[in-house]
């Protein structure tokens, strides 16, 4: 079973998961999204790791959710795509990691700007539902998450991620 998790917990009846409602809004691939940007309703986009996220710039205000897939856990392009979406394009909507999402990657994903996660691995769902993340709350570099400068070096940040 696939579950959607955010820092507020497991999401019931997520509108973007296929089959969650009678006529669910689909996550559109990049080309279709660019085409459907004429429609009125907000829509979702699912990108591929090789897609250039900057192409979303002209339609960004119409997008309700961007899903970035991790076809295998070792394919880390989504981390840079997320950084560009958040920092370069200023995207503020939902950003979801889909595909192979490892528990130990979730803290890094949160830092690069993801805020929801599609998860299948049962022990991972268990840990997430208890909000027991395996991350490190001290950070040596700025990222896309909310960070506050500490005393010390200006590039060294700390973020209050896990509570």
């Amino acid at each position: 079973m696939t579950v959607i998790w955010t820092q507020n917990g497991i999401v019931e009846n997520d509108p973007w998961v296929s089959g969650a409602a009678e006529d669910p809004p689909k996550l559109l691939p990049l080309a279709e999204a660019l085409e459907h940007a004429q429609d009125n309703a907000a829509f979702g986009v699912v990108l591929q790791p090789a897609d250039d996220v900057r192409k979303l710039e002209p339609i960004l205000d119409r997008i309700a959710i961007v899903a970035l897939p991790f076809p295998v856990f070792s394919d880390g392009r989504g981390f840079s795509q997320a950084m560009l979406l958040r920092q370069r394009l200023g995207y503020t909507g939902e950003l979801r990691a889909v595909g192979t999402v490892l528990l130990d990657q979730v803290p890094l994903m949160l830092r690069t700007g993801f805020d929801s996660f599609e998860v299948e691995h049962v022990p991972t769902i268990e840990r997430l539902s208890k909000n027991r993340l395996p991350g490190i709350d001290l950070h040596y570099q700025p990222a896309a998450d909310k960070a506050e400068a500490t005393l010390g070096y200006s590039w060294r940040r700390t973020a209050i991620l896990n509570g």
Binding site: G76, M83, D104, P123, Y140, Q141, S154, T158
Partner: protein, 556 residues
Amino acid sequence: MYRYDEFDHAFVAARVSQFRDQVERRLSGEISEDAFKPLRLMNGVYLQLHAYMLRVAVPYGTLNSRQMRKLAHIARTYDRGYGHFTTRQNIQYNWPALSDVPAILEELAEVEMHSIQTSGNCIRNVTADHFAGAAADEVADPRPYAEILRQWSSVHPEFSYLPRKFKIAVIASGHDRAAIQTHDIGLQLKQDDQGRFGFAVWIGGGQGRTPLLAKKIKDFLPESDLLSYVTAIVRVYNLHGRRDNKYKARIKILVHETGVEELTREIDAEWAHIRDGELKLPEADIAAINAYFTPPELVDRAEGWGELAAWKKSDPGFADWVGRNVAPHRHPDYAMVTISLKPIGGIPGDASADQMDAVARLAEEYGHDEIRVTHEQNLVLPHVALADLEPLYRALLADGLATANAGLITDIIACPGLDYCALANARSIPVAQEISSRFGDPARQAEIGDLKIKISGCINACGHHHVGHIGILGVEKKGTELYQISLGGSGDENASIGQITGRGFGPDEITDAIETVVETYLASRSSADETFIECYRRIGAEPFKAALYNSEAEAA
């Protein structure tokens, strides 16, 4: 040297408990070995042929005595009484139990050490010139910048799942003692005509099955832009580096396939967006890190000059050692001492726990508490008064650490090879040992002069054979080990990739073949001053090939 503050201590402690949690989940079966692999690798834990291996980071090769004693203690307590210093200035333990690793990491954290990012497809331990902060020829100490990069790259959220490993090296001298042109990013600290610091930047160097030298893409990057520019490089690599074939996944292939000019344009375009953002390094921050690297106070010890001359006259062994293993320090009354981990017939880079303790003691007594690990698998005491060289030498002699062979034919780099490594096709260590024994006579070594032999047990090239003056690559052919020879490689400021001579040699032939190469050089050199690499560059490969293969053609 750098000292952890509260933040660093808390960070490393958090990293240890994170890893403890990961090990517990693995041992309970909650995560599979496949899912665990990248997690353990990012913390330096490999699964080798016979056991797990733990690789501990020695950032930019700098250690103090307390840290060296801890490394000795770990070797004694959790391993078989020795450790292996590597070509990336790290140390490896070959026999730890996985369940002991969290405890080892806790012990390391006590002395401000860790194993973070010593493996995995992330930004690895940043290396630097092993003579940094002492060499007479540097513009400034490059290590503060290596430390800034170490901090910035630690558990970097965007760059922890790169297409492949990513290695950065920093120097501050025209003489490259850190092989920066074989790194993913090579940085040379320099000063412009107004005295401002900045970097020449190279990208795309690497060895492995496609050896390529790095290309210079910036002649002078202002120091304040260091982190933003490196971020731009790694981001472009993360998005566009190949992920379809792990042998084509390093940035060197992206540089090669995209073209250095086009890729530089992409990097510069990315950089333009982030250059003036939060990664800009303020002068005050650079100064704060620099303050940690204030050199020790070296009082004048001019009496050493006269004493040294007298000691050399009375003891030829000491004179040899000074001639090979002692290099000029910025302070005229001091020297930089190389402690060879290449005893004749020994295993390159190995040190026993007792030897580590001895080095720690001698660093305290004679070396202002500083020790360096070199990429050539030796140790260095960077600040020794000339007046202390003789007692230091006596003490090193007693511990088997006074081999006078730095830079000579027996100062061999070798990877662990098939004796330990799961990737290897052939053994490296026995080949190194046999060559070392064959050429062990001090007079013969001196006659041959500067000559770097580097041995890898497989095409991954951890033994840097591509940049050896003489490189040896172990391959496996029809179930037997075969050794290919390459000639003319170099990892310094005049870097070059060695060329393969021809068919390989069996384990019982390789030492003879090396001897043939050496004899050909001795017979061909224009004078005793012409080194092997100079001679090779003048006469080319042909005379060597003829000597190696012609007798065979005649026989056939």
